[in-house]
């Protein structure tokens, strides 16, 4: 499926393991940006918005490198975004049971391939920035995507691809 921001109820039809592309504006946020948004408010319209766990390298008005960071660091920091209407989180490595529950009936977690900073940058255009004082890696950058290839890691029905794979791996490790 080709998704375009702002997202709506089409995300409810996605199933963990679906491969999708995403186009339109997304907002980068790491640990510091989440804390700042909780305190000072979300600096973009959160309804249907997409948050990308990413600390990009920006040069002037150009996105140089923008691969995903580890989403698990935001496990305790994402509820307020989903409560405000955010429909999708993008990152790598998956998120925990709390976020899986928070996504239920509302949105999805989309996995982007870790380390693919050059691929990401080739499909991105910089549109703006909020909280620039947090520094390059932690600021909230508005970035326009052109068909970024993603996988549905957690769907809106409680299915979490990562925890399923991890459970099967635990089982395999226990076998002689």
């Amino acid at each position: 499926m080709d998704l375009v921001t702002p997202l709506g109820d089409e995300v409810l039809d996605l199933v963990a393991g679906d491969r999708v592309t995403l186009s339109g504006v997304v907002y980068t946020a790491r640990d510091e940006a989440h804390l700042r948004m909780m305190q000072d408010g979300i600096p973009f319209d959160p309804v249907g918005a997409v948050v990308y766990h990413c600390g990009p390298v920006i040069a002037g008005d150009r996105v140089v490198a923008a691969g995903p960071t580890t989403s698990a660091r935001m496990n305790r920091l994402s509820g307020f975004l989903l409560d405000a209407g955010v429909r999708a989180l993008i990152g790598k490595g998956g998120m925990d049971a709390t976020v899986t529950e928070q996504l239920r009936g509302r949105g999805v977690y989309l996995a982007f391939t870790g380390g693919c900073a050059a691929l990401a940058a080739a499909r991105m255009r910089l549109e703006g920035v909020s909280f620039p004082e947090l520094g390059m890696a932690e600021a909230v950058w508005a970035i326009r995507l052109d068909r970024l290839p993603l996988v549905v890691g957690i769907d809106s029905h409680g299915r979490n691809l990562f925890t399923g794979v991890q459970a099967r791996a635990e089982e395999a490790a226990g076998r002689p």
Partner: protein
């Protein structure tokens, strides 16, 4: 050290970093392509396709493969005609600073306690420089990203626990899950001391990964039976390769170190002509 030699060493260091962070060694790219050929899971195939496209784009554009351009680990060999002097370390650090501006590399190096970032990827004990004698003056760089490095471990097994070595390797990868950006390359150091095992594990990552001995193959197969797959999303290839290095050890100990490396198994060597 002769100023022109230290300049050439700094140049070689900067060139090696530029190449390492933008271009993967051919054996690593070939291993990823082979993993894609062997993969039937559509999600895993998609991840490997993204990785291979990313490698191609980075090579063509001269931009870093990954925004985590790592901390600088450097291996130098000195020929008999070049004595080991303090100036060597300064020259390598100078090369790191130059690469940080020129490539650019992300400034990743901070004070361990204050977390103050030096801004130029150098600091106390950084770059980590390892020197040994050789035929030529060579500078090999291994930019080490944090995601995989943080999942590495050293275990001090009992001498009676040789049979537990595969379990140590497999549990390391299992507990790391998606975090080190699999498919990984594993450097395993067996024997020596607590610190030597870790050093051997890291050096093992410099070895070509297109060949494994039967022990390495058996470890690699055990890891791949986990089915974690690319990015922990499931699939046939969790590890591209396992490389083992050994050292003799105390009769009462059996150190085992596992250095985890993400798919971007970056390293590059440059040579310096010695007049």
């Amino acid at each position: 050290m002769d100023p022109s030699l230290s300049l050439r060493i700094a140049d070689a260091t900067a060139r090696a970093f530029a190449r390492a962070v933008t271009t993967l060694p051919p054996d690593v790219e070939a291993a990823l392509a082979k993993a894609l050929d062997a993969e039937t899971d559509p999600v895993a195939r998609g991840e490997l396709e993204n990785i291979l496209e990313n490698i191609e784009l980075a090579r063509r554009s001269g931009l870093p493969l990954c925004q985590d351009t790592g901390v600088p680990v450097v291996y130098v060999t000195l020929p008999p005609s070049v004595p080991l002097e303090q100036g060597l370390y300064a020259a390598v650090a100078d090369g790191v600073r130059r690469a940080t501006t020129a490539v650019p590399l992300r400034p990743n190096v901070v004070d361990p306690l204050t977390r103050h970032n030096s801004g130029d990827n150098t600091g106390e004990g950084m770059p980590a420089v390892h020197v040994r004698p050789g035929d030529r003056l060579s500078v090999t760089v291994l930019p080490k990203g944090a995601g995989a490095e943080n999942m590495s471990r050293v275990e001090m097994l009992l001498p009676s626990e040789v049979a537990r070595i595969p379990e140590v390797v497999v549990r390391c990868v299992l507990e790391a899950g998606a975090r080190p950006c699999p498919p990984v390359v594993l450097g395993v150091g067996i024997g020596g001391t607590f610190d030597l095992a870790a050093a051997l594990a890291k050096e093992a990552l410099l070895e070509p990964i297109d060949a494994m001995d039967p022990f390495e193959t058996s470890l690699c197969e055990a890891v791949n039976r986990l089915g974690l797959g690319p990015m922990g999303l499931g699939g046939a290839t969790t590890a591209l390769a396992v490389k083992v290095r050994r050292a003799a050890c105390h009769t009462a100990s059996l150190p085992v170190a596992v250095n985890v490396q993400c798919w971007a198994n970056r390293h590059a060597t440059e040579y310096v002509e010695v007049a």
